[in-house]
Symmetry: C2
């Protein structure tokens, strides 16, 4: 295939994307597709073509076959899970990253990719007002871009297991002896990571009564009991902004419990961490002085496309001691001089694309002011939606924090019925969940095109479904 056609087709693709974003912004497309399982499979041939096809035709087919079967996460009516929002700057960066096509596993495999990542992670640590020791510039800590908060917590747990074992873990594995603590409110990726790390079921610490937050005294008691039973408490995962209700564990108290016992504290701020761009939303940073690692998904609420999670560690040798590994074909003078960072030793994969260009583009194109404005805009929309819900009879706001509004109808039967009606409605996507055993709906504001008018439209849709119930 010749490169000549590429520029023209890429320009066409960019135009189509702009038209697509406009159609989303105008809510001309449904959020959720209507096809039953198998719709896309049926539309695609069973075998790959033998002969090459034109890029222009493949692009056409994308809009014909694939786009109509997507859930549009950038749609103004998308309030599902947590946002995975995006921006033109991020998309442009993905184009450039792909086109340059470098592999940044080590400093020596692309020095500029590695140093850009060091700098951008430091930029973000500073913008979020994280402790200085998380910066590469501190000499001891540093940030690294992972694909997800799941992978971030996995490598943090693995570093914790290695540290807790005083070297034994590398040779003997987890031996059924190490314990990792979280709560029943912790994201599913955490117990999953603990299992993957071979440490069995994560211990669920009780919640403070009447809250969805970890009880630090119960944590201390459980760790001490485990230690007395011959087990080794290795790590605690605290959450700043849980998925179901955006609850925040009492990190300062948890940190003190961990520090007294020499146990690794990982703080998962996948969603709410971005809010710390704004000084008024920095409560979640309290107690990070005790944290060994901290992760935020820039791809959730920072206009940076997925994947882009940033994991910071206070002591990078804890990470590289655990997952660092080399081989004759990876040795090079720069690595051996120990003056450079090799990100392969900070993550699960060996190879990696140039991960930082996207975050660099987004932080520069929006500026910190622009990113703060976006967060404040989304929070104000959540305030509006919460007010609308509260003003309505037969509805209740269960929790409203940052961009998340959790609500329900006056009876569980009506909530369940509303969930079902909304599931079939293609113009709005809210995620059903369970809070304290009762069904709720979650509305997470953060899609880039959601504005006040969209919130009124969304609310009017929800209301009309509720009105039809009675």
């Amino acid at each position: 295939m010749n490169d000549e056609v590429f520029a023209a087709v890429a320009a066409d693709a960019a135009e189509r994307l702009v038209a697509h974003w406009r159609a989303l912004a105008a809510a001309e497309l449904p959020v959720v597709p209507s096809g039953p399982p198998g719709t896309t499979l049926k539309a695609l041939p069973e075998q790959a073509p033998e002969k090459g096809e034109d890029l222009a035709e493949i692009l056409d087919d994308t809009w014909r076959t694939i786009v109509p079967q997507l859930v549009h996460w950038q749609h103004p009516g998308f309030l599902g899970w947590f946002p995975t929002n995006n921006s033109p700057a991020s998309v442009l960066a993905e184009l450039v990253t792909a086109g340059l096509g470098v592999q940044g596993m080590m400093w020596s495999s692309s020095p500029g990719a590695t140093e850009l990542e060091q700098r951008v992670c430091d930029w973000l640590a500073r913008a979020l007002a994280l402790p200085q020791r998380f910066q590469h510039a501190s000499g001891q800590g540093g940030g690294v871009i992972q694909d997800s908060a799941s992978s971030a917590v996995l490598v943090a747990v693995v570093a914790a297991l290695n540290r807790a074992s005083v070297g034994r873990w590398r040779a003997h594995g987890t031996e059924g002896r190490y314990r990792v603590y979280c709560t029943a409110q912790t994201n599913s990726s955490v117990p999953k990571a603990v299992r993957i790390a071979g440490a069995g079921e994560a211990v669920q610490v009780p919640l403070l009564p009447g809250t969805h937050e970890m009880d630090p005294a119960a944590l201390a008691a459980r760790m001490d009991a485990d230690r007395s039973a011959g087990l080794i408490p290795a790590a605690v995962v605290a959450t700043v902004g849980t998925t179901t209700t955006c609850a925040t564990d009492p990190v300062p108290e948890i940190g003190a419990v961990c520090q007294e016992r020499g146990v690794w504290l990982h703080v998962d701020a996948a969603y709410a961490g971005s809010a710390a761009l704004c000084p008024e939303f920095r409560d979640g940073n309290a107690g990070l002085g005790h944290a060994d690692s901290y992760a935020v998904n820039a791809h959730k609420w920072m206009r940076t496309g997925i994947p882009c999670d940033v994991l910071w560690v206070a002591d990078h040798t804890a990470l590289t001691d655990a997952v660092g590994l080399t081989a004759s074909y990876l040795r090079n003078p720069a690595s051996e001089s120990r003056t450079v960072v090799d990100f392969k030793d900070w993550q699960v994969p060996l190879g990696r694309p140039m991960r930082a260009l996207k975050l660099w583009y987004v932080m520069r194109a929006h500026g910190l002011e622009g990113l703060r404005e976006a967060i404040r805009h989304d929070v104000s929309l959540a305030v509006l939606l919460a007010r609308l819900i509260e003003a309505e009879g037969g509805f209740e706001v269960v929790v409203h924090r940052l961009g998340l509004v959790v609500f329900r109808r006056d009876t569980d039967a009506r909530t369940r019925d509303l969930v079902e009606r909304l599931t079939r409605d293609p113009v709005v996507l809210c995620t059903p969940a369970t809070v304290d055993g009762r069904p709720v709906l979650r509305a997470a504001l953060g899609s880039p095109y959601t504005d006040e008018a969209a919130v009124h439209r969304i609310w009017s849709t929800i209301r009309s479904h509720a009105a039809a119930q009675d």
Copy 2:
């Protein structure tokens, strides 16, 4: 930021990429940058900007500050590690994927993204002539796109541990009892994955004498001895095309050993797997009838940008039993109907971008014929380079397989000196390694712009360094 400027800047970026590819093809750029550690860090401000900047300026700065400090993996003089090659179709797909901005963790979070991935993984399984049971269409197996062969082997090992434990692993972890087997020639990502999975050091099975291939009899003996000692053999990782010498373990015999003992066999074909697109290079497929999982990096040798590893499993429930996990906010009718695939349960991360569009674009744009032609072209260049080396006094080809040529000078001192001279030469990148305790240079053909003229230029550069030694 307004979307209006995006289309124009993206078109400009596409033009710049085409110009960049032309400059690479013409070898007008060095492969390796000359700046010492810190060059890029120094060029970047210490803080993120407060005010947003123009995309056009950021794009300019990319070429001014970042591009000159990259190792150009798409350069015709790049023969390092294994290729991570690329194509306009892949770059175009990355643009579209980023612009659509969907998150495909579950079928219900974007049905089209999931079904496209099922179909494309089936396409590739068929194109590589893999066993039919690896296809989604078989009902029992299926493929999933991972970011890397490292992540693929990690989830395969975790599935194996879960299966070997008969359910105990989920609750109790690895307990120091499970063993995973490979060889000293296996890629570093495998012992790394085994450690991360909490199973300690992977067991290094001896090699067949005079080869770099696993000895199946030694494997059987070691597994039986371990079992007698109360340990549980859980998985064997065999390699089709090792990193150092492109050696292939005797998979049929290893498979028989595994099958007799009910042990999971994962086959890592990260590099050489792509060659099976061509019927004449399908030796590596022998014995896959016994394999439980198989992985190939489409991002190595299939014109698909990084990341794109495809992992196939013969029984997808083995994978989803191990890493599947749900939560109230992830429940939905489609998942509960068990008629759909939720790829979150096939991988470490919870969230994921639409991973398959890139492979779909590449397979369609090149066609299977085009992809085969590219493999054959690279293999023929390796033949040419090997001939040139063999015809030269004072050089020796240690191994030549597929696109890889491993060579050395007549003495180790001269090889080491040549490595050092080449490290300082910016026009060619070969990777030094160690084979049987002796230093070698590896030349892996596969960069998209490497042609016969480039091979002659590369060889003349290497020769002139050698001539300067004496």
